[in-house]
Amino acid sequence: MIKQATFYKKRIYPLLFMFLVTVICILITSGLFLSTQERATANELSFTRRAILDAGGLEYTPTTEGIEKTYKEKVQVEDGGTYYTAETAEGKRYILPMQGPGLWGTIAIMVGLEEDLTTFSGLAIVSQNETPGLGGRIEEPWFTQQFQGKKSPFTLVNEGTADAPNEVDAITGATRTSEYFRNLTNRASTDAKRIIRGE
């Protein structure tokens, strides 16, 4: 009898206990996950659309509704999502999702190009894993906005000295990230010509 009691206490009870705790924890987390999934997906979608609008250099009200409204009015999905187009007063714009290596992980961006497929109409960061405060500064507006109206291929110059239409500011203290970013953006034009015009 005593042996059976210890068997239960030593082997069965811990197993049952762990099983029960696991089930409860999974129920809580998956319940919460499912109940917020719709919101999370909507956020994700709105975020991508915002990046497309930014890259295309389109004006919009920065709310979820504003983004959706402008996106639906102006942007067309082409070729099942490989690229997007937008009609603006200054002509047609091509917006291309791209990704490439960064210093720590993949950098994903949206590149907006004018009709010549060489001049940038804008650029937006979709995701990046660079060092916060250094390479992570590629997300800052001054960095992304400087590409507007510039012609690729780009050369990097010291932070705050970019002048010519093919020069972009590198980030001080983040030379490697800046180089990876330059390589990625320099590919945009050739990629776009291949995908859009089949060249």
Partner: protein, 202 residues
């Protein structure tokens, strides 16, 4: 008696039993997230939430957990709370989640949380454990915020993302890189131990 114990439980992690500069716990995250105040704030709020609630939960279960598997149960409870933080951030603060995604998961590995459970929650009543967890979180929070204050200010010339120092300021890039964390943390611990802690001992 009960009141003084509560007081002691709350005050000790803030001062002479501080998790960071006395117990030297949670150093990994202290070094990793303190290069910007915003990152740090989210991290410390997440840690406070997780230490407080997981200490409380484990304390509630403490008489039922078989001691051989207690660490598995603790990890499970901690991970659950961290995932809750992650899901809530993702759904309601997507911008912040984008910036901090990888850090949130790191809360699980913060040894303060498990340390407080093992050292305190397993022997004490739920409410007292909740207070202990919260106070440990607070003790961790103010040290990290202080470190982040100096790292962000010296490293980028700004605070909370706003430019504070003018263009005459040359950024000390080393401050926002990992070595900067070691320097500031070490100086912080040294100053505290040489001044405040020494007086207490004398």
């Amino acid at each position: 008696m009960a009141k003084s114990k509560l007081r002691k439980t709350f005050l000790e992690p803030l001062g002479k039993n501080n998790p960071v500069f006395v117990q030297i716990l949670g150093i990994c995250s202290t070094l990793a997230v303190t290069n910007k105040l915003q990152n740090t704030m989210v991290m410390v709020l997440g840690v406070m939430f997780t230490t407080a609630l997981s200490s409380w939960t484990i304390s509630l279960l403490r008489n039922h957990i078989p001691s051989r598997i207690r660490m598995m149960v603790e990890t499970m409870v901690i991970a659950t709370f961290v995932i809750i933080v992650d899901i809530v951030l993702k759904a309601f603060y997507p911008e912040m989640w984008k910036q901090l995604g990888p850090y949130v998961g790191l809360i699980i590995t913060n040894c303060i949380i498990m340390g407080r459970i093992e050292a305190f929650a397993l022997q004490n009543k739920p409410f007292l454990s909740l207070v202990d967890g919260l106070a440990s979180g607070l003790g961790y929070a103010y040290v990290l915020l202080a470190i982040a204050f100096f790292r962000e200010l010296l490293g980028t010339g700004s605070l909370w993302g706003y430019q504070i120092l003018g263009s005459w300021w040359t950024n000390w890039s080393i401050m926002i890189m990992p070595p900067g964390g070691f320097f500031v943390l070490a100086i912080f611990i040294w100053v505290i131990r040489e001044t405040i802690m020494k007086e207490e001992k004398a």
